[in-house]
């Protein structure tokens, strides 16, 4: 279906043409406009999304309606409200496009059918999930031990393109600081 998905999977497991055709038929392609919601808080989450292009944010809104950004996603990244997706419960997060975004969508049923039909895809998802788990552990450690200045510098070092592409107010909501504090951080970095 899409060469970007093939290239992405083949960083971990090699696929024959037949196998890739089998993988492809489990995905559907969708387009979203900037400001559209791919996941809406309180609703079911039918898909895990593989981004072909664009930019999204995954947001938790607290009781005081304050937004906390859990993650950004760009091309070649997977994102969803995974808790809701894997446990088939209603979303507690929302996922909103910060730019026009093209995705390949994988439903829970198609995910199961895909893994059952092609064990090496299960290996691919295990490797991706391990990477995600390790990244989450690093983020926990960073939240526990690093100053806001250090966390800003880590973010810029790991994902330099985010600085260009993500509005400053959104970067501030990811770091848990005000827009004013972020300006101070970026002049110090």
């Amino acid at each position: 279906m899409h060469p970007k998905l093939k290239e992405h999977i083949e960083k971990i497991v090699a696929l024959t043409e037949d196998e890739f055709a089998f993988v492809s038929k489990h995905f559907i392609r969708k387009s979203f406009k900037k400001h559209q919601f791919m996941v809406q808080r309180g609703e079911m989450v039918p898909y895990n999304y593989f981004l072909l292009s664009g930019l999204t944010k995954l947001v938790y809104t607290d009781d005081a309606e304050k937004q906390h950004i859990l993650a950004f996603a760009m091309e070649d990244w997977w994102d969803s409200d995974f808790q809701a997706y894997y446990t088939q419960t209603k979303a507690t997060l929302s996922m909103e496009c910060l730019a026009d975004t093209e995705v390949l969508c994988l439903s829970r049923d198609d995910y199961r059918a895909l893994c059952a039909g092609l064990p090496k895809i299960e290996h691919f998802f295990l490797e991706k999930t391990i990477f995600g788990f390790l990244a989450a552990q690093r983020r926990i450690l960073s939240l526990m031990t690093a100053s806001t200045q250090e966390r800003y510098e880590q973010l810029i070092r790991q994902h330099p393109s985010l600085l260009q592409r993500v509005p400053k107010t959104q970067l501030a909501a990811y770091l848990g600081v005000t827009r004013e504090t972020l300006s101070r951080l970026s002049t110090q970095a």
Copy 2:
């Protein structure tokens, strides 16, 4: 090799006796005394550990030699410095026994051989890793949004036995507060 491991795996995938015999031969059993280190910062991490009994803490020590506890583990839990284990690099964390601890150890080579020889074990590890990833995401959100009091109450609600088994100084290092603040939290809870 051990009925606790079989019971643990069978919560996710059913195994025949032959399959379980195949699984078992990839693990070795070890015993550690209270205060012994299972993972030592700066050294290689040969194993992922499945705890049969006991209690461990996973610790990051910062430049000022302050200890930050990333996780506790008890019977039926897996723990290791996963970053070091999966990427075959030296440990940045240490894992220390808070009580005498019995474990089943799985080396990287045995993990690979096990997954290659029995695809349903790869499914088991994928499910466990998804659970671990979701728990890590909840912890990130909690660190971003909840007060120390709320995080203390979450911990006690999710793992009531920790309160009895883990010394108060260790609980404080997990929550990132002083021993005195923890006493105040526990009287308010």
